[in-house]
Amino acid sequence: MTLLNNHLDVTIALVTRAQPSPTHWNGQAAQACRDELEKLLHQLRSLKFEMALLGLIPA
């Protein structure tokens, strides 16, 4: 459980880090990429919350 919790945290950190820098990539494509990654982050955080709610991983 701890491992999965850490794994989700690492993945969330990696996806957050993968977001395009506004100073190095802008335009519609970059914004679309940010939006998609934001949705993915939300999905990951929701999963983590659900798992914690179910007691599958520590909160």
Binding site: M1, L3, V15, D35, I57
Partner: protein, 428 residues
């Protein structure tokens, strides 16, 4: 920008515009790259707008790959054994998350292709480009527009004429020469009318004599080109054409072929200035063939036109060029053309191109302070009269390299019989 159409995943945003990454993918599927251009604001290159760096796109792609790897490794069997329920829940969510990551990553790659494909293609072409072959194809072989310029041996001009106010310039300039080898044909619309001639003219025996004849072209107040014809000792004809410089300084384009607008054309290499065609027309009127020899004497713009004429492809055999006060730093003379350039150090015109003349074994540039004949007028050092006096100084110099250059330029006339001169009036 080019759109991305990965199978069932249809690009499109809420505002109706297409883009690379817009809505969540359903399933990962093979990418179909659609070359249909759209009007995304990411107009790299087309509108000069900064959009992205290649490194940033690569970084995002690499981070996404790391995230996908991180998620995928969680489903290892050992993890299932330790916490089956949590991993079952995780496994339900995982495909959509991996698909999303995969699509975003593919979007980054396609964005990179869209932004940088021209640069990548260019880089590939530069890798495979064969410069000698292109030169050969374009120029018909035999002529290299960018030869390696040998550095002249260490000059010892000071040892022979210490205190000489005439200074040959040595060294190799840093500017790459432009090539003007585009062939051109005479244009019949440009009229060159003979307005007089004179028989029994002695051949020029000094630079001063040439400069004097050059200066006489200005005396009539018309745009006069002077063509002298002699018979050499070997029986071939030797011609000398004198090309005067800018005759009017009206900044507005006039009918005059020697006005500043033509100067601009010659300096910026936008086109062959009309006087090159006039030179060609005049020479053709005298039935000058490839076996005859031609020396060009030019002042200011006339020298620039003469240099361009010597560089251009035609059937005339130019073997000598004397330039007086001309910006020739961007010019490159073909092999076999002996060039002597005289520049007054207080004349701004030779510095207009912001580059030193190319120095080759066949091209010597000489600088001296003008012996200003008209006081301190700012333009006086550029006048033909000022260069006539400087040419006299050059004649008096005992510099070894200068003597060689002068001898090479004047030797065709040493045994020439007296000739005749024809004057042409240039009309646009």
């Amino acid at each position: 920008m080019h759109g991305l159409n990965p199978g069932g995943y249809t690009p499109g945003s809420s505002d109706g515009s297409t883009d690379i990454i817009t809505s969540p993918p359903v399933q990962p599927s093979p990418i179909t790259y659609s070359p249909t251009p759209t009007h995304d604001s990411a107009g790299v290159g087309s509108m000069g707008t900064f959009i992205a760096t290649e490194q940033e796109l690569l970084r995002v792609s690499a981070d996404l790959l790391l995230a996908a790897t991180s998620l995928a490794t969680e489903l290892a069997p050992i993890q299932w054994i330790q916490s089956p329920w949590s991993h079952a829940l995780f496994a339900i969510e995982l495909p959509s998350m991996l698909a999303k990551l995969w699509h975003v990553q593919q979007g980054c790659i396609n964005a990179g292709v869209s932004y940088f494909k021209e640069e990548w293609a260019l880089a590939h072409k530069i890798d495979v480009i064969n410069v000698p072959k292109i030169n050969n194809d374009l120029l018909g072989g035999g002529h290299n527009p960018y030869p390696v310029t040998p550095i002249l041996p260490s000059p010892n001009h000071g040892s022979t004429d210490t205190g000489d106010i005439v200074k040959p310039i040595f060294g190799t300039p840093t500017n790459p020469p432009r090539s003007h080898t585009t062939p051109f044909s005479p244009t019949p619309s440009i009229d060159c009318t003979p307005i007089g001639s004179k028989q029994s003219l002695p051949a020029p025996s000094s630079l001063d004599a040439m400069a004097k004849r050059m200066q006489s072209s200005y005396n009539s107040g018309l745009d006069v080109v002077r063509l002298e014809e002699y018979v050499r000792a070997d029986g071939h004809k030797q011609f000398v054409i004198y090309l005067p410089g800018t005759q009017h300084w009206n900044p507005v384009d006039t009918k005059n072929e020697l006005d500043p607008s033509a100067n601009f054309g010659a300096l910026t290499n936008m086109h062959h200035v009309p006087t090159q065609h006039q030179v060609s027309n005049i020479l053709m009127k005298h039935n000058i063939g490839s076996h005859d020899h031609l020396t060009i004497v030019g002042h200011s713009q006339g020298a620039l036109v003469g240099a361009r004429f010597a560089e251009a492809k035609h059937n005339f055999h130019v073997d000598g060029l004397l330039t007086l006060g001309a910006p020739l730093g961007q010019e490159h003379m073909p092999d076999g053309v002996r060039v002597l350039s005289i520049e007054n150090t207080d004349d701004f015109v030779p510095r207009l191109d912001d580059a030193a003349n190319l120095q080759t074994p066949d091209w010597l540039t000489v600088q001296a302070h003008s012996q200003n004949p008209h006081g301190h007028a700012w333009f006086a050092p550029h006048s033909a009269a000022a260069y006539e006096k400087t040419a006299k100084l050059v004649d008096q110099s005992a510099n070894r390299e200068l003597l060689i250059a002068k001898d090479q330029l004047l030797s065709p006339f040493s045994e020439a019989k007296s000739g005749h001169v024809t004057f042409y009036h240039l009309k646009g």
